[in-house]
């Protein structure tokens, strides 16, 4: 019987993908910080995760097409942010400080997910080799 990586890694690979997507959305916000009329976006983590997990059962037998599909469904979870100020003069709702903090937070959360994944991998290795190396 093959080892099920899906079960071994749990939600962490999905979480990583969503963090990755979020880093992209935040980068977009920062790049467009001076674009008139641009509205800041962010990823709804909970919704994106539940969407990604509900596809977990199907994703086992799919190949490249499925990856693309997950990415496109996650993109729809990016929602517009509630602006802090009603009007900034040019219709732009990006708060650069908020975005920078979000990037930092996202980076840390990505690291946390990676750490969890790493510990799962080292657990698997330990089980396979019996030495933990």
């Amino acid at each position: 019987m093959a080892i099920s990586f899906e079960k071994a890694f749990g939600m962490h690979p999905h979480a990583l993908l969503i963090r990755e997507k979020r880093s992209e959305v935040l980068a977009e916000n920062i790049a467009n910080a001076d674009t008139p009329g641009y509205k800041a976006k962010d990823v709804d983590f909970q919704q994106a995760l539940s969407l990604a997990q509900s596809r977990q059962g199907q994703s086992a037998s799919r190949t490249h097409e499925q990856h693309f599909h997950i990415a496109s469904t996650m993109a729809k979870d990016s929602l517009f942010r509630h602006p802090d100020q009603p009007d900034t003069g040019d219709g732009n709702s990006v708060d650069i400080h908020r975005e920078r903090n979000a990037v930092m937070q996202n980076n840390l959360e990505y690291q946390a997910s990676l750490t969890f994944l790493n510990s799962r991998i080292s657990g698997l290795k330990k089980a396979l080799t019996g030495t933990g190396q």
């Binding site: 993908l17 990755e20 980068a27 790049a31 910080a33 001076d34 674009t35 008139p36 990415a71």
Partner: protein
């Protein structure tokens, strides 16, 4: 790989901000360029930013960078000065100075350099994420 798009997006932001820095430098350098006619006078130049969203990307709900739509010249009135002794004065004794506000340009420059910096930091954060992912399972 979605995270490598961060480099494209941050790169587009850096390009746009450097265009802004360029126009600011041009405006400040020419702030005192005097001329003897309205048509020949230098006018303040400012880039117009827009979200870089192609049709295909919009349908996928994909993220997008920023692009410079174009550079427009300021419509503000020129500074006209009466200086009959100036070598470039016209027949009526007027010289024309650009409609560049140095204070505005300085603020613009600081804003552009800060935005550039933030884009660099975003790319840096993405690089860290990728490096850590590449080392996954090794430590």
């Amino acid at each position: 790989m979605s995270i490598s798009k961060v480099f494209d997006i941050a790169g587009s932001g850096m390009t746009a901000q450097s265009v802004r820095m360029n126009t600011t430098a041009s405006n400040i350098a020419n702030a005192n360029s005097v001329s003897s006619s309205i048509d020949e006078t230098y006018r303040g130049r400012h880039p117009v930013f827009a979200t870089e969203l192609s049709e295909a990307r919009r349908q996928q709900g994909d993220s997008a960078g920023v692009k410079v739509l174009g550079i427009v010249e300021s419509d503000a009135p020129l500074n006209v000065e009466y200086a009959p002794n100036h070598p470039l004065a016209d027949d009526n004794g007027f010289i024309y100075k650009p409609n560049v506000n140095i204070m505005e340009e300085m603020a613009n420059m600081i804003s552009a350099s800060r935005s550039y910096e933030t884009n660099v930091q975003t790319a840096d954060a993405a690089k860290q994420m990728i490096m850590r992912t590449l080392r996954m399972g090794q430590g």
